[in-house]
């Protein structure tokens, strides 16, 4: 009943006043993001400039990105979506897209082209992993280590995490199978391009868990990205994985004795998604903002405030120096050639299929 009413309403608005609604934009914009340094970089790089151009607009922030999928589903079921634009990681975006909670977008139509005229779909290239998703940044999950605890033999290979003899002490790993299983197989001698084939078999899962078993009692499992920098700073762990931006701020902004281990860093994407079925005036405002916030210059500007790589190819040459520290940001980007020598490419499709199954096995293994 609700649906038919809605569609009747949509039809009538479409018939009566398409022109009026297309022109009118809502003046309130509810943005959902992660809070902290990341949200601050978004405010500085494109929200404040947008507000300067459109003083009539009021932006409301909701720091709910970590629970975005669940909240989006609850709001959609209740028929009252209060969010306008949501920041989400790529895997969550795919999930919401599958559930029909967010809008499919024609990237070339709604996004700005690169300054040289390259259409958006080419400029973002293969990073457009879902039809519903507009990537902003490339971040990576990678390792940091305590420079004073590893002696004069700093690790330069991911397999150092499994080497308890050379690097005794605890390690911090994320409490989920994603990335950890791949690293375990890689360090157990599986070739990089065969990792997902091996992991698709029950034996492969056993093999990965057996490898993780060798360090299980030396692992501190984290769930929030802020935990690893804290554990490293306290000397609780000798090395640990987290998002590269967190390590950057611990090293460059807080001068902690931490070094970066970029080998086999796991790339991931973060970007915008638009809730499905927004009223026309709100959607018009969202699309206007989205086009501005993801253009070449804006994405490059964001890298002044946080060490995540812009998702557009055309933004890369424009990346400059940190806004406050004045250091060159390029060498701190996960996408910098010096850092991206050996990367692990995360297979979204594979994990979308196998996440629940592997998670059950991973959790059972953890509880053992």
């Amino acid at each position: 009943m609700k649906l038919s009413k809605l569609s009747a309403l949509a039809a009538s608005t479409a018939l009566c006043a398409p022109a009026v609604f297309a022109e009118e934009m809502a003046n309130e914009l509810t943005l959902v993001s992660w809070g902290g340094a990341y949200q601050a970089s978004q405010i500085k790089a494109y929200v404040e400039p947008y507000l300067a151009m459109h003083p009539e607009v009021k932006v409301v922030w909701d720091e709910s990105s970590a629970e975005a999928t669940a909240k989006m589903r609850a709001m959609t079921e209740a028929g009252n979506v209060t969010w306008d634009l949501v920041d989400a990681v790529a895997s969550d975006a795919m999930r919401m897209c599958d559930e029909g909670l967010i809008e499919e977008l024609d990237h070339d139509a709604v996004l700005a082209a690169a300054p040289d005229g390259t259409p958006a779909s080419e400029d973002f290239g293969e990073l457009l992993v879902s039809d519903c998703f507009v990537p902003q940044i490339v971040y990576s999950t990678t390792f940091g280590y305590r420079t004073d605890l590893v002696g004069d033999n700093p690790p330069d290979n991911i397999c150092a995490i499994f080497d308890l003899e050379t690097y005794p002490g605890k390690r911090a790993l994320q409490k989920r199978p994603i990335d950890n299983m791949e690293w375990a197989l890689y360090c157990d001698g599986v070739a990089k391009d065969e990792i997902y084939d091996v992991l698709s078999t029950p034996e492969g899962v056993e093999q990965a868990l057996a490898k993780l078993d060798t360090i299980k009692d030396q692992v501190v499992w984290w769930t929030a990205g802020a935990e690893t920098p804290q554990l490293l700073a306290d000397g609780e762990v000798v090395m640990g994985s987290t998002f590269n931006g967190r390590l950057f701020s611990a090293i460059a902004e807080q001068n902690q004795p931490i070094g970066m281990l970029w080998d086999m860093q796991s790339f991931d994407l973060d970007g915008w998604v638009v809730p499905a079925g927004l009223p026309a005036d709100r959607k018009a405002r969202v699309m206007d903002f989205l086009k501005f916030a993801t253009d070449t210059q804006r994405l490059a500007d964001q890298a002044k405030y946080i060490s995540y790589g812009p998702a557009r190819k055309s933004s890369a040459p424009l990346v400059g120096q940190h806004a406050e520290l004045g250091i060159d940001m390029a060498p701190h980007m996960p996408t910098d050639p010096a850092n991206a020598g050996n990367v692990h490419v995360y297979d979204y499709e594979w994990w979308a299929d196998n996440r629940d199954d592997l998670d059950a096995k991973f959790q059972a293994w953890l509880a053992k």
Binding site: E67, D98, W221, T223, D234, G235, D356, D357
Partner: protein
């Protein structure tokens, strides 16, 4: 007088039978009482009971498959998975027709996600098929079996079709089976493979650890409550503030404080090493395990134990103890035989509060529980917010609720719920 008792019913002053008059008055009184509580009743019903009932209902609800794939479900009824062969063309044709409609409504990926919980891989099969099928003409483009197999050979797998068939009824017990480490197999209910069993372990762990926490709260809280009830008012008020102060502090702050205290480079370990009681390379592991969870949760839940105990102890008349002693009881006998039995209702109330809060606890075990100290609620939260498997979360929640009610009932039978007092 004799006349009235013989002839018919007793009449009220206005001539109506007294019985009816009385019942009318009572009914009015009841209606008035009901009207007074109606706002609260409605509020609780709408904002609390109905949403909970709706959420719990998800544990058995399974409309999505038959709603999204109506023709396929009907066509599949004839098919027997024991034949070991994929179904025939008519099922594939039905699926093509269903998927085309579903793709238009963007529901094909939802049914894929639902079935993927039971059989990993179905999610992407449906996603890819939707894209392809939307371009077909159902009238003329058949036969479809070949085309589905061309798209992905997995469409020929018996297990895929078996999963669709098993989960086509509108109600399912699959979520409940899953939440007790069972599953629907080829021939009825089966035990899950050992490397996927987790929920029974977690349920048992949750109950044992909650019991330990409750006991720790009783042991630590009883003397404090006794002091509170028996000190002069001034010092009792000071002590009361000390009890309430942590109560007013953020849960996260207290949990993080325990991290700082208990971790290997933390305050306690540093002190022990400095005192020479513990070697530097053999620091105690006190956090990210069950010990850490018990310590932190006992601290957080302690006020819930102390306050009901205190309010019961305050009502115990001190002259009872004096009377016991004047009749020759030792201090211990007077306490154990007179004071303690009088304080039991407070212990009961505190224990129920602490235990029920503990089994549903989530934040603290998540932060300091490591791998061995997490509770069932952490998995429920995971399925609500990360895996979006709300059916399974609802089934786990229903079981937890049922067990709590069962424990409450047992408590009532053994101790008697009348014997619980909050003051």
């Amino acid at each position: 007088m004799a006349d009235t008792t013989q002839n018919g019913p007793v009449l009220a002053a206005d001539g109506t039978p007294l019985k009816r008059s009385l019942s009318r008055a009572l009914r009015m009184q009841k209606t008035r009482a009901l009207m007074l509580v109606a706002p609260l009743l409605l509020f609780v019903l709408i904002t609390f009971l109905l949403p909970i009932a709706d959420m719990l209902f998800r544990s058995v609800e399974n409309n999505i498959v038959s709603d999204t794939l109506p023709k396929t479900v009907v066509a599949l009824r004839e098919w027997d998975p024991a034949s070991g062969e994929a179904p025939g063309e008519e099922v594939y044709a039905a699926l093509a027709a269903d998927l085309q409609v579903a793709e238009e409504n963007k529901t094909h990926t939802r049914v894929g996600t639902r079935l993927n919980y039971e059989n990993p891989g179905i999610s992407s099969l449906f996603r890819k098929a939707g894209r392809r099928v939307s371009k077909w003409d159902i009238e003329t483009d058949g036969p479809f079996k070949e085309q589905f197999l061309d798209m992905d050979k997995d469409w020929g797998k018996v297990e895929i079709w078996q999963t669709i068939q098993t989960y086509s009824p509108t109600m399912t017990n699959g979520y409940f089976l899953n939440s007790v480490d069972l599953m629907k197999g080829a021939d009825g209910v089966e035990v899950r493979p050992e490397n996927e069993r987790i929920y029974i372990t977690l349920f048992i762990r949750t109950f044992i650890m909650s019991l330990v926490i409750t006991c720790a709260c009783i042991v630590l809280g009883y003397p404090v409550a006794w002091l509170l009830a028996n000190l002069p008012t001034r010092s009792a008020n000071m002590l009361m503030i000390l009890v309430l102060l942590p109560f007013w502090t953020s849960l996260l702050v207290r949990t993080s404080a325990w991290k700082v205290m208990l971790q290997q480079q933390g305050v306690i370990n540093e002190t022990l090493v400095w005192l020479g009681l513990v070697a530097d390379d053999a620091r105690l592991v006190m956090i990210n395990n069950q010990f850490g969870t018990i310590v932190a949760m006992t601290h957080i839940l302690l006020p819930f134990m102390i306050l009901p105990m205190y309010s019961v102890m305050q009502t115990i008349n001190p002259s009872y103890l004096r009377a016991a002693k004047s009749l020759g009881a030792t201090n211990w006998t007077a306490f154990w035989r007179v004071y303690f039995p009088n304080s039991v209702p407070g212990i009961g109330a505190g224990s129920i509060l602490v235990f029920i809060l503990a089994i549903g606890y989530y934040i603290t075990p998540e932060l300091v529980g490591g791998t061995k100290g997490v509770f069932i609620s952490n998995r429920i939260a995971f399925h609500i917010s990360t895996s979006l498997n709300w059916g399974l979360a609802a089934a786990l929640g229903t079981i937890l609720l049922a067990v709590v009610l069962l424990l409450y009932w047992t408590y009532d039978k053994i101790v008697g719920i009348d014997n619980v007092k909050l003051g």
